[in-house]
């Protein structure tokens, strides 16, 4: 029961943050000198009527605070309640409406439904790759402290945190796609699509292709995560191995393998979970770059396209969604932390 209440609490706590994300993004996008319409129309020659029509359509003729109320959907609520002046306002963020993309001529929320899954697939596989490689290596490094295995793992971690993920991506493409021709250099094959969409005959073949397309971007995005997790896993494991109860277990003649697996491992995972939560921001930022390098049509690439095409509402919508994804990710890591660590009091009065 406690965990459920804790979850609810965390979700409630994040509401002001989500509101803040909408405020900051809105202010940033509107901080631009001049009118967003100028940017939308770019170099096109436009009549005053056209400009006025666009302004009216996107509500840009209103004062900024009204625009914001419109955007987050507060106007819509005020309108439905029947407050004069707000009647007939379009729905906004609170109603799940992220606005309308001028370039794609589609609602932004519809675009998100298309673009969010590839980004999530990429990020999740990158984290999976990072955890699967970093945890055993970190444990190994801690066990063989100051031995060759430890030095190698530290060098790998150092290079991992010092290398731009997009450059790793480029290098992987050059090596494995261009030179060796082993793996495809871009785009993803989505496992949720019908195999016939890609001209494949079976589901199994589809999964095989998905994996093949995913490997390079996954490694490129996951390397930084792997390096940071490995560092924390190592130091956390070293700390655990020096704890009194581990010494006691050792004194009782418990085998070293069993000590590592049964006594030291689990408590060492807590800092790793925290780290994964903190790393979400760099992973999302990295996803923007990796999606560009590998031509993956995810949210990150959508943001860049939105900026390039001067699509004002799409830029706003993508940034807000990226912020929300991060907040939700942090909530999930917090909950798993509470789940793993029995000491966390679920924010109850004590």
């Amino acid at each position: 029961m406690g965990l459920l209440r804790y979850t609810l609490n965390r979700v409630l706590q994040s509401i002001p943050v989500m509101f803040g994300i909408a405020v900051i993004t809105f202010l940033l996008v509107n901080s631009m000198p001049g009118n967003p319409v100028d940017l939308m129309l770019a170099e096109q020659e436009a009549s005053p009527e056209l400009i006025a029509a666009i302004e009216a359509r996107y509500g840009l003729d209103e004062p900024l605070h009204i625009q914001f109320l419109n955007y987050i959907g507060a106007s819509w609520i005020l309108g439905t309640v029947g407050i004069p002046g707000f009647t007939g306002s379009p729905p906004g963020l609170l109603q799940g409406d992220l606005g309308f993309s001028m370039y794609y001529e589609r609602p932004v929320s519809g675009l998100m439904v298309d673009r969010l899954p590839p980004t999530l697939l990429l990020m999740m596989s990158a984290f999976a790759f990072a955890i699967v490689t970093a945890v055993p290596l970190g444990v190994l490094a801690a066990k063989r402290r100051n031995k060759p295995a430890d030095h190698v793992s530290r060098i790998v971690a150092l290079i991992g945190v010092s290398t731009p993920s997009f450059w790793i991506g480029i290098m992987l493409i050059i090596l494995f796609s261009v030179q060796l021709g082993w793996l495809p250099s871009g785009r993803l094959v989505y496992p949720w699509r019908d195999p016939s969409h890609y001209g494949l005959s079976s589901q199994l073949e589809l999964y095989y292709q998905t994996v093949r397309h995913l490997i390079l971007p996954m490694v490129a995005l996951g390397t930084l995560q792997m390096a940071t997790i490995m560092r924390v896993e190592r130091s956390s494991m070293i700390e655990s191995l020096q704890k009194e109860y581990v010494k006691l277990a050792r004194a009782y003649g418990v085998s070293e393998r069993k000590i590592v697996r049964k006594h030291a491992f689990r408590p060492s995972q807590l800092p790793v979970i925290t780290l994964i939560g903190l790393n979400l921001t760099s992973a999302i930022g990295g996803a923007v770059l990796i999606e560009t390098v590998f031509s993956i049509n995810g949210v990150g690439r959508l943001l860049i396209q939105a900026i390039q095409t001067h699509d004002y509402q799409l830029t706003l919508g993508t940034t807000v969604v990226i912020g929300f994804v991060f907040v939700i990710g942090v909530i999930i890591t917090d909950i798993s932390y509470a789940y793993v660590d029995p000491r966390v009091s679920y924010g109850e009065e004590s």
């Binding site: 002001p16 943050v17 803040g20 994300i21 405020v23 900051i24 993004t25 940033l28 996008v29 509107n30 901080s31 631009m32 000198p33 001049g34 940017l39 150092l158 290079i159 945190v161 010092s162 290398t163 731009p164 997009f166 450059w167 480029i170 290098m171 493409i173 050059i174 261009v178 030179q179 130091s235 921001t281 760099s282 999302i284 930022g285 990295g286 923007v288 770059l289 560009t292 390098v293 943001l303 860049i304 900026i307 001067h310 830029t315 940034t319 990226i322 912020g323 991060f326 907040v327 942090v330």
Partner: protein, 329 residues
Amino acid sequence: MAIGEQQTQEDEVSGDEFEANIGWRHTLAKIMEDATARFGLYVIAVVATVAVVTTVDANLSRLSLGRIDDFSLIESVWYHPERHPDPGTTERRMPPFFVDGGSLEHPLGTDRNGRDYISRLIYGTRISFFVGIVATGLGLLGGTIIGAVSGYYGGRIDDVLMRAVETLYAIPPLVLVIVFTVFVSGGDPDITYAVFGVGLAFIPVFARLIRSRVLSVREMDYVEAARATGVKDRDILRRHVIPNSFAPVLVLATLQIGVTILIVAGLSFLGYGAQPPTPDWGEMLRISHQYMHSNPWMSIWPGMAILVTIMGFNLFGDGLQDALDPRIK
């Protein structure tokens, strides 16, 4: 931190400056003992020298060209006089000298405009180095002020400031910087905007750390004593709380310079950082990305340069951490 503090307390004989000196010398000596940290320091020294020399060189040529009228201090850091390809070198995308078709005249070949690649790499050091330091410095400044005020006063102010910081933290730095650079510049992004964007994006990281440090330092007896003798809050913050919170912040700042360089490289790679013709490693990768098939070498060098530079800061930062806080190892 612990050691630095004890050290200064043990040597409590004379004024502030003297104590600080002993602490610094002690830290530096410990760093020089550590081979990897020493290596990091050397890398930083080389990068810094290259950055300063190229900046002076570029501005000297600007002076000789008589372009003093458009002088701006910020721009002078990444001013690049070379508006056109080097006259005389016509061959474009030449490979490095050890590959067929390369020559020692252009050791790492030429770019797509026929410009010498290695000299652009050398000039590109400026952006990474100065932006890394200045942007981190801005974030440090903003974060220190917000974190110190928040932690020291607590209560309502703390709530409001920390919520704001938390919100800022929720937008991934790269995304924040892209949106900031593009929109605040009015669709005409430039590296100057990127500096401020990164500074803004880093406020949360520093504010949170400073705040947590301040919360513990605030309870110390000497702060209590200062307060009892009627020292003003602002002076307590400035003279006692902030200096005593600084060691872990310094470590974070060093490591954060590496992160800044990563972000700015990514920004330029997407086309929103340094603008051509200014040589910049991220920008060079953006161009060379298009020639992955025909000339993969062009993609290798700028990435190596970024890697080595960031590695320098990371090694030094780790060494600094070990020197200041020997408990973590």
